[in-house]
Amino acid sequence: MQRSKPSRDMLRWWLPQALFALVFMAFIAVMVGMVEHNLSVRGMALDFGFLGSTARFPLSETIVPYSPSATFARALLAGLGNTVVLALVVIVLSTLLGVPLALARRSGHPLAGGVACSFIDAVRNTPLVVQLLFWYGVLTVGLPPPGKSLQPIPGIFLNDRGLYLTSFGITGTALPLLLVAVGGLVAVAVLAWRGRLHQASLVTLATVIAAAVLWVSLGLGVAPDVPHLDRYNFIGGWSFTPEFAAVVVGSVLYASGFVAEIIRAGIAAVPCGQWDACRAMGLSDRQSLRLVIVPQALRVMVPPMTSQFASILKNSTLALLVGYPDLNSVANTTMNHTGHALECVVLVAFVYLILAAAISLGMGLLERRSARWAR
């Protein structure tokens, strides 16, 4: 009896696990079998070969270079590039906007608190689709045609085709400068992540000086590229389309409401006693926030923030409504022109899964990091 007890415990622990695993695998096997059977009945088969064919359709704007004579794989890659950039921009901007909103709502100041509170309620409680269409309408109907562009500052043009900025190109061999800048940036990021803020600021200074020396010694110059009106549109310079602007503005405002509430919840979750303790130790309000409250609040904030960032990623599939081509829209177009619906759905689901997993992974790192700070 004495001897058999641990093994019986083992059995008790393993048996349900093994049974569950078996049932689960059987379920998957049956599903896969049925899907295969149904596909063959419909004369459909998973075949990703079409990805190498010419895509033929245009995309309105892409970050990854793309033309209609490129392949479907390239088109999907261009869509992926747009989705990733859009999601990153929205994640960063909505977080930046969420922090002051949360602090304003916590502040107890009647005006700041009231404004923050009504803003959060307004953006959180109206559908994102409606907000996107609203902003797109504002940007296209509200702004003048290219011939009557607004010019708030010389070199900047705003019209219903987008926002056009003067760009500055560097003339001369800029490669060494680029290398120094990138190297310095990476070093600063690594040091800051490790918490060595003093060293980080020294490296920043060193990089700036090195860049300045290189600039003078290489004899580099700056050539502005001012946008100018052609027959129909402005050409030259940097530009943002109303489609991109509408989807960014709409998504950022929408997401910032949620982000603000997550941050507020995180700060509120730190017990009052912690503030009292800080004061007793003679820390200023800013010091207590930075050294004691935020590290503890971060632990509470990271899990809901992870889901929030994942939903920002998934909400980016609404971009097509206002004409911005994201991965999902490119996949839909591909389906339409090739009939390979299943392959596209599988591919898109898989890619979004990977992207969401990457977000979770990054946030997991931050969580472990904040756990260390909080100790």
Partner: protein
């Protein structure tokens, strides 16, 4: 949202189909069996439809579906079930339509879909063109553009999920001009963006441009053909059911042949007593044709009586009686210099 619907439909169809076939023990899944039997058991035909394609398929103020494609669907309903009202319409965007047909959400897709090689090879079969169209650009008359070259540098609103986007890209490549596309997933957004001034031109089927121009009598527009290629808009069915493929073909053909034979809604009754063997066979007075397709022998008679011949249907939806006044052009009978062929009901 709209495109997630296609995802959902597909996922449901595959998983649902899987479950169904597992229960019924054998390849009797919805799409594999004869569609006709399924349609008869269900009691109505499900057709893919547009939403805002005035003249082809769009609901009117009372929620009644009207249009050339709608009447094509009604003709199929008459062939399969003997009643023009036994048709239901599933509104689909350009992106969703092929997936909806592939997954069995609809029985037939009469929705301004251009017959192309890639689509044809990708799991669907095109029956017979019910309209010949061409891609064109419409621009405000104020722009002064008269030819494609004048559009160099212009921003163009295009709808995705349509052949237009490929023709659009080809036009730019072939003529060495730069066109900036702004692409939307539905007709309404595309038009609105054009009318709001987001684009200098709108690219789509010429028939749709004419319809839009008719709706905006206060404004002046120029229509510029994209090329001299013609796009056969053709109702399509899924691979795997040849009988249904034939039925759809001859339901469409019945309207064209009726025009060729001079049979219309008003005289079809009287024509039944005609001595002409061709007319007698067509109307099923001399039996055999319907039976060969698995239909009632008077299916063509019923189509003409309940829906009309091609000329009547065209007139109702696109011609003089519709207010759109689109000239028949290539959609005349071959006899009159058009492309509409009458295939023998022998």
């Amino acid at each position: 949202m709209t495109h997630t619907r296609a995802f959902l439909a597909l996922a449901c169809a595959v998983v649902g189909g899987a479950l169904l076939s597992a229960c019924s023990d054998g390849p009797t899944a919805a799409a594999s069996g004869p569609t006709l039997a399924e349609v008869r058991a269900r009691g109505y035909v499900r057709c893919g439809a547009g939403k805002d394609t005035t003249g082809f398929s769009a609901p009117d103020g009372h929620g009644r579906w009207l249009g050339l494609d709608v009447d094509t669907c009604r003709a199929i309903a008459v062939a399969a079930l003997g009643d023009r009202d036994k048709a239901r319409f599933v509104p689909l965007t350009g992106q969703q339509r092929i997936t909806a047909l592939l997954t069995g959400e609809i029985d037939v897709l009469p929705r301004t879909t251009t017959w192309t090689l890639q689509r044809d090879a990708g799991g669907i079969n095109f029956t017979i063109p019910n309209y010949y169209d061409y891609t064109a650009f419409m621009t405000g008359a104020a722009s002064g553009a008269k030819t494609l070259r004048d559009l160099d540098g212009a921003t163009v609103c295009v709808q995705t999920g349509s052949l237009t986007e490929i023709v659009f890209a080809d036009v730019a490549r072939r003529n060495h001009i730069t066109l900036h596309p702004v692409i939307f997933d539905n007709v309404q957004s595309t038009r609105q963006a054009f009318l709001a001034g987001r684009c200098d031109a709108l690219a789509t089927d010429q028939s749709a441009l004419v319809a839009l121009r008719a709706m905006k009598p206060g404004q002046r527009f120029t229509i510029i053909p994209a090329s001299d290629d013609i796009a056969p808009l053709t109702p399509a069915v899924r691979h795997g059911d040849d009988q249904w493929f034939d039925i759809v073909k001859y339901a469409i053909e019945a309207m064209i042949v009726a025009e060729h034979l001079g049979i219309n809604r008003t005289n079809v009754e009287a024509m039944s007593s005609s001595r002409d063997p061709v007319i007698r066979r067509f109307l099923g007075v001399e039996p055999g044709n319907g039976r060969a397709l698995g239909l009632r022998d008077d299916f063509a008679y019923q189509i003409v009586r309940q829906v009309g011949n091609y000329a009547e249907v065209y007139d109702d939806n696109l011609g003089a009686r519709s207010g759109l006044n689109i000239p028949r052009g290539p959609n005349r009978l071959r006899r009159d210099g058009g492309l509409m062929l009458s295939i023998g009901f022998y």
